[in-house]
């Protein structure tokens, strides 16, 4: 037997279909207005786990970016100070060569000794250099002055490194300790010790001692150059990490966008499609509902 069709049936079927169309249209509308296809976990339960990971990695990278900026500025500052140390040591080398010259009268040697004395305190100033209120050459004891202005040759800087985190599991030491630059108090070529010896040798006009000190100064000079190139190498490493972080950020943002963002062209197209279907269902509905036999009976 053919199905008996009643207005109630038609009406509820129509309502159901119109509702379906409207729900779909609302979904598209939501995607359009938020620009996201992932608005709640049930939109894409698998995607949401990725989305959460991308978002938190991006947030951490933002922090690592700040760390890199700070590390770079510390390394640059260290390099500048080491450059100055380098210049001053070169000046000492010149002075020593001058002092070793036999033609100098004692008064000339004394003048050189006075300059060496100035350089000695200048070196201590370098050793006690601060950035943002922190001593840069005293390892982790950033709040303590590493070099005693009166007896720097007996002072030792803290030898521990300050590590900074630039990515999950990537920590890089960013400080140079005073002992690496100026030598430990026990080292034969401790820069302060060498300066003191030069000064004494000049005052007492002891050429043999001066020559010995000059040799030690040269070995220290080589070490300073080594340390400086290490700073350069570390700066490179941090810059490399920075570049990698930028690349990673770009990739993460792309992947996040793939998971979360709506494809506008597609969504607009779908929306228009849904809208016309909805309107069609409304207008056919209006035609179906009003007609019964009553309309045609006299």
């Amino acid at each position: 037997m053919a199905l008996r069709v009643t207005p109630g049936m038609m009406q509820s079927q129509l309502m159901r279909n119109i509702n379906h169309n409207l729900t779909r249209m609302q979904g598209q509308q939501n995607e359009l207005s938020t620009g996201l296809k992932l608005n709640k976990p049930s939109d894409d339960p698998i995607g949401i786990t990725y989305s959460l990971r991308y978002r938190s990695e991006l947030a951490m990278n933002e922090q690592y970016d700040k760390n890199i900026a700070q590390a770079k500025s510390l390394l640059e500052h260290t390099d500048t100070v080491l450059g100055q140390v380098n210049d001053v040591v070169q000046r000492v080398q010149e002075l020593v060569t001058q002092g070793l010259n036999d033609t100098n009268p004692q008064s000339g040697l004394d003048a050189i000794a006075t300059e060496i004395k100035q350089i000695y305190s200048q070196m201590i100033t370098f050793g006690n250099d601060q950035l943002n209120g922190k001593y840069i050459f005293n390892g982790q004891m950033t709040d303590k002055q590493p070099y005693d202005p009166t007896a720097a040759e007996t002072s030792n800087a803290d030898t521990q490194q300050i590590n900074m985190k630039f990515a999950a599991g990537v920590t890089v030491p960013i400080n140079i300790t005073g002992n690496e630059v100026f030598g430990a108090s026990s080292d034969g070529d401790n820069l302060f010790q060498v300066l003191k010896s030069i000064q004494t040798a000049l005052t007492s006009n002891n050429k043999a001692d001066l020559a010995a000190a000059s040799a030690k100064l040269n070995t220290r000079y080589d070490k300073i150059i080594n340390v400086r190139s290490e700073v350069g190498a570390r700066t490179n490493r941090v810059e490399l990490i920075d570049t990698r972080l930028q690349d990673l950020n770009y990739n993460l943002t792309t992947m996040q966008s793939n998971v979360e963002d709506a494809d506008m062209a597609e969504t607009i197209m779908k929306y228009n499609q849904e809208e016309s279907i909805y309107q069609a269902s409304l207008s056919t509905g209006a035609k179906i509902i009003q007609q019964t036999l009553v309309d045609y009976l006299r």
Binding site: V5, M9, S12, K144
Partner: protein, 511 residues
Amino acid sequence: MRSTFHSIETAKRALFTEQANISTTGHNISNANTPGFSRQRVNLVASRPIEAPGYMRTNIPGQLGTGVEFTSITRVREKFLDDQFRNANRSLGEWSVKADSLSKLETIFNEPSDSGVRTVMDNFWSSWTDLAKDPESITGRKIVRENALALVDAFNETNKHLADLKTDLTTNINTMTSQINSISKSIADLNLEIKRLKAYGDNPNDLMDERDSLVDQLSEMVNVSVVDTDDGYEVSVGGIMLVDGLNAPGTSVAALEAQFNGGGIVGGKIEGLIVSRDQIITDYQSQLDAMVDTLANGEITITLPVGSTYQGTNLTEEQTVTVKGINGLHQLGYLFNTPPATPQQAGDIFVTSDGSATFTAENIRLSQTIVDDPMNIATSMRTEVLNGASETIKGNNTLANLMAGLKDTKFQFSPVASQNGIASGTIDEFYASMIGQLGLQSQEADRQSTNQQDIVTQVDSRRQSVSGVSLDEEMSDLIKYQHAYSAAARFMTAIDETLDKVINGMGVVGR
């Protein structure tokens, strides 16, 4: 012998019967939009002819018809479709409630967003990295403190929302139980009236429709089984008798819950509500609790770098130690000191409000000592004896780095969390898997409730096909009955004219 006025009687019966037909059609048209109404039909039969078989019959040949009469007015309805509708309606009730609860859970967890738990967690970890840049500063510590407070608030608040949702569901269960009882009472009342009217031999169609419509309403809430007895409907849920003929013993929340636990309740809004409250939300609460407890207390393995002070000695090579969560790690750190005071070991970061050893999203708090003074947040893991006095090295940021590293450290989760499927993993992984699970459940519930809605509409449409009022049909019937009525009237006129001939026109021959 037939009577003179026999045909007048026949015509009158026809008029009455057609009138009954017309009235019933009118009744159907009036109720075209009444929910639960079934169309009614007048059942016509030819009335008993005269000279019915018997000893007293005359010898006239043939049986003379006496016209029409109606024996009953019945409703057109199929019980099978009612049962089908109620089954589908029950599943719809269950899934629509579950879908609703799960979508509320999604709103509570509010992911993906920039204000959910994930964001405050990230802020917390990154504030430690920030502090590691400047371990000497109080500013960095304040930022860590504020972010830790935000994290604790986020946990507390999420927990409160979950608890509130549970309370709402309990209220709903209570309301629905009284609704079930009041509907049961109405059904029992209708049973009584229907029984009374049936005793007179009538079909109380409209009352029966009303009763079926009430059972339909019940079926959305709970799985009812209906038995039609002499006393009317017997309605029961599992082992609970809701309507026992003329009485409605009703039920209580406790009885319904007992039935649920015993497996007597399958489907219906009540089941959806109880499952949402006792299983779904409880599951997410315990997962969140497990996450919080693990964060504060869960076992982690970390590597201490060279130079760190561990158990009184400074390490000369890396050492791997196992500590209990963020609190255990923080306790390895040293607070800043001014000699001659000796370095203090740091305390807990998180504490429980009730002193319990187990952390939950509800009882986790930031330690009051840290709230009062952020300098109680440790960053250093190194002490040295300087000038004869032991001192914490301020520039050491080992602890801050290790804290920040916890974001990527695998925690051992307590067994309760194994429903999540993660026994060991990072906090982020645990949380993501929890949100993923929520998404899957919600998607499933959405799909199910849409499906069930379609099924219910379809079954209802079948019912409408059988019982619904078709105006076209009623109109054509109306025309049919109207014509029949007119014809019966014409018949009456014809008899009238014949009688007129007999009474007034006869016996006057030749006048």
